[in-house]
C-alpha cells in the first residue's frame, strides 16, 4: 500500500497553520457536526471508528471518553500528552508544528464530549517550535470564537493552556505527567485497580481525559466523515483502524514521518523512506526504543497492526518510532545505548526500575568494553525478568523488553562479544559509529 495521507494531507502547506487556511481546507467541520450532536453520540462515533491511543499503549479512546461522569458534579479536565520522548519518534512534533488546528479541533471535540472546562497541552520543554506554532493557532482560535466562551454559539466553553515540561522522559507516562503538571517531580502514581482511573480522579483529583497528540488529531476526521468511514481504513487488520504516523529514521535514505494505513507492511514503509542506506538491512525497531527489535528476516513478512506485530513477532506498533539499521550496526552496542537511555531516565521511584536499569547498563557496559563474562547473557535475562511486570509504571517494562528482545533475536552477537571481547561486526563503518572508548572492539 502507498502512503495514505489523512492527518498529513496538508502538512506542507504553510497556510494550513493559520485558521483561515485551515477553514479553507474544510477544517472545523468535525467540531461543527459534534456540537450539533448529543454528547453520547460523539463518543459513539469514536467507538465506531475503532480509534486506539496513538501514544504507545493502543488503548481504545472511546472508553476513556465514556468513563467521565455524565452528570457533571466536578470540573472536568482534558490533557494532551505532547511529551513526546520515545527515542525514534518525532511525529507529534511535526503534527504540532504543521497541523496545530487538527489538535485544537480534536481537543475541543473531546472536551465537548466529556464536558471539560479546561485543557492542558503538556509539551516537552525542547519542542519550542512546536509550542510556538500551537500558541499562534490557539490565539487565533480564541479571536474567532473557536475557543473560550460559547464556542461557535453552542453554549460550550473551553480554555486551552500550554504547559511546558523541562526534560524528563518519565513525564510521558500519564500519571507522572499529571504529577508534573501539578508542580511536582515527574513521578508516577498508583494506578487502577489500586487507585481510581484518571477518568474518575485525575488532574487535581477531578475527572480527566488524557490522550496523545495524534489521537486527538484523528477526532476531527472521525466526526466529519463518520466513525464507520474511519473504520474502513485498516480493515484488513485484526483490530487496528485508521492511519498511523510512523517516524522512520536510522540508516534510511529519506528519514521522516510517513502516514500509512494499518495493514501496510514494514517493507513498504522502508520503501517509502527511500530504502536502506549503506549496506543491507539487518534489524528494525518498529515502534520506538521500548519495543523488541526485529531481524531482517522478520521484517520481510511483517504487517503493521497492533495485534499483527504482537502475535507474530512479540513486538509492537508502540509510538511509531520506526528505526531501520544496516549490516554495520552492532546490536550489542545499540542495546547498550538503549540501556543507557533508560538508566538515565528512570525516575527513581521504584526499586526494580531504578536499580534494574543501572544493572543492565553496567553489564552491557562491561561487555562493550570487552570485559564480558561467561553467563552475562543469562544474568541480563534474569535482570529483565526482575524488572518486567514488577516496576511501578511502564518505564521498567519498556527498559526490559528491548534487552530481552535483542538477546532473543541476535543471541550470536552477544555470545561473540562476550567470548572474544570484540564485536561480531568488524568494519570501518561500525567503528565510526562507536564511542571512542569502545572503538577497540571494532578494530581488526
Amino acid at each position: 500500500m502507498p502512503e495514505t495521507k489523512l492527518l498529513f494531507e496538508h502538512a506542507h502547506d504553510p497556510q494550513f497553520r493559520t485558521l483561515d487556511g485551515y477553514l479553507a481546507k474544510g477544517g472545523y467541520q468535525g467540531l461543527k457536526k459534534a456540537l450539533g450532536m448529543d454528547r453520547q453520540a460523539v463518543i459513539d462515533q469514536v467507538k465506531a471508528s475503532g480509534l486506539r491511543g496513538r501514544g504507545g499503549a493502543g488503548f481504545p479512546t472511546w472508553i476513556k471518553w465514556n468513563g467521565i461522569e455524565k452528570e457533571k458534579k466536578n470540573p472536568h479536565y482534558l490533557i494532551c500528552n505532547a511529551d513526546e520522548g520515545e527515542p525514534g519518534t518525532f511525529k507529534d512534533k511535526q503534527l504540532m508544528e504543521q497541523t496545530p488546528f487538527l489538535l485544537i479541533e480534536g481537543m475541543t471535540i473531546a472536551g465537548y464530549a466529556t464536558q471539560a472546562d479546561a485543557g492542558y497541552i503538556y509539551i516537552r520543554g525542547e519542542f519550542v517550535d512546536a509550542a510556538r506554532s500551537l500558541r499562534q493557532a490557539i490565539d487565533q482560535a480564541y479571536v474567532q470564537g473557536y475557543l473560550g466562551k460559547n464556542i461557535l454559539g453552542s453554549g460550550y466553553d473551553l480554555d486551552l493552556y500550554i504547559h511546558m515540561g523541562a526534560g524528563s522522559y518519565e513525564c510521558g507516562e500519564e500519571s507522572a505527567l499529571m504529577s508534573s503538571l501539578m508542580g511536582e517531580r515527574g513521578m508516577p502514581r498508583l494506578k487502577f485497580p489500586h487507585a481510581p482511573l484518571p477518568t474518575v480522579a485525575g488532574l487535581w483529583d477531578k475527572p480527566t481525559v488524557i490522550n496523545n497528540v495524534e489521537t486527538y488529531a484523528c477526532a476531527p476526521f472521525i466526526l466529519d466523515r463518520g466513525g464507520e468511514w474511519y473504520a474502513t481504513l485498516g480493515a484488513s487488520t485484526k483490530n487496528s483502524r485508521g492511519t498511523k504516523l510512523f517516524s522512520v529514521s536510522g540508516h534510511v535514505n529519506k528519514p521522516g514521518n510517513y502516514e500509512i494505513e494499518f495493514g501496510t507492511t514494514l517493507v513498504e514503509l522502508l520503501d517509502m523512506a527511500g530504502g536502506i542506506k549503506g549496506g543491507k538491512l539487518k534489524a528494525c525497531i518498529p515502534g520506538g526504543s521500548s519495543v523488541p527489535i526485529m531481524t531482517a528476516e522478520q521484517v520481510e513478512k511483517a504487517v503493521i497492526g497492533y495485534e499483527e506485530l504482537w502475535d507474530d513477532y512479540k513486538t509492537m506498533v508502540g509510538s511509531g518510532g520506526c528505526m531501520f539499521f544496516n549490516e554495520h550496526t552492532c546490536i550489542v552496542s545499540l542495546i547498550w545505548r538503549t540501556a543507557q537511555f533508560y538508566a538515565m531516565e528512570s525516575c527513581g521511584k521504584c526499586t526494580p526500575c531504578r536499580e534494574g536499569t543501572k544493572w543492565m547498563l553496567q553489564i552491557l557496559d562491561r561487555i562493550v568494553r570487552g570485559h564480558g563474562q561467561k553467563g552475562d547473557m543469562d544474568l541480563l535475562l534474569d535482570v529483565t525478568k526482575q524488572i518486567d511486570g514488577r516496576s511501578f509504571c511502564g518505564l521498567g517494562d519498556a527498559a526490559a523488553w528491548p534487552v530481552a528482545g535483542a538477546i532473543r533475536a541476535f543471541p550470536e552477537e552477544f555470545e561473540h562479544f562476550i567470548e572474544h571481547g570484540r564485536s561480531m561486526v568488524q568494519s570501518e563503518e561500525a567503528k565510526a559509529m562507536a564511542p571512542r572508548w569502545a572503538q577497540p572492539a571494532f578494530s581488526h
Binding site: 470540573p75 513526546e84 520522548g85 520515545e86 527515542p87 525514534g88 519518534t89 518525532f90 512534533k93 509539551i123 516537552r124 520543554g125 525542547e126 519550542v128 517550535d129 509550542a131 510556538r132 500551537l134 500558541r135 490557539i138 490565539d139 480564541y142 500550554i162 504547559h163 511546558m164 515540561g165 523541562a166 526534560g167 524528563s168 522522559y169 503538571l181 501539578m182 508542580g183 511536582e184 517531580r185 515527574g186 487535581w204 517516524s247 522512520v248 529514521s249 536510522g250 540508516h251 528519514p255 526504543s289 518510532g321 528505526m323 550496526t329 552496542s333 545499540l334 545505548r337 538503549t338 537511555f341 538515565m344 531516565e345 525516575c347 565510526a432 559509529m433 562507536a434 564511542p435 571512542r436
Partner: protein
Amino acid sequence: MSELLQIGAQRPKAPEPDSLELRFSPTAVEELEALKTHYPDLKSCVLPTLWIAQREYGGHLSPEAIAEVAHRLSRSYAEVEGVATFYSMYNTAHKPGRHLIEVCTCLSCHMCGAYRIVDHLEEKLGIKLGETTPDGVFSIHEVECLDACDRAPVLQVGDQYVGPVTPETVDELLERLRSNPDSTVVQLADAVVKVHLRDGKA
C-alpha cells in the same frame, strides 16, 4: 567517602530567609500573575515559574533563584529544589556557559555518527562533556533523545535544533555562536515562558 555522599556534600546551600532578595523584573511578575490564572492552585505554577527564574537569573537556577520561586508561590525551599533538580533542562548543578550545546547520542544519532560529533566538539573546545570552557562561552552536554531522529545526528542550542550536523557544520555553528553576545540559554528559557502566554505576552 562514597560517591553519593560526595554529591550530597557539594549540594549548594539554601540562602537564609532574611537574606532573600527578590530579583524578578516587573515583566516577570506580570507573567507570573498571568500564569496563576491558568491553574486552580499555586503549586501547579512551579514548573513555569522555574522557567521564568531560569531566565531572570541568567540561565542558572541558583539557590537564590529557587528561593525566590518558593517565596513567590508560597512553597518551601526544599520542595521547589526537589522539583527543579528532577528535570534535566533546569540548570541547577552549575551555571552553564553562554551557549549550551546539547548533543543527542541516543539510538538513531548513535548509529548516524553522533559520537564523532562529540569527539569533534571536545577537541575543538578543549573540554569534556558536562564541562564549560574557561572563558564561559560554551558548555557541552550529552542528552537523551531529542526526538528529531530524522535529522540525526542532531544538536540543540537554545531554542533551535541543528542537524544533521557534520564536523564542518559544527565549526560554522561554533563561529556563529562565538560572535553572538546574547546567551542562548536565557533565550530558550524566555521562549518557553512566552509560549505559555496568550499573544506571547502577559
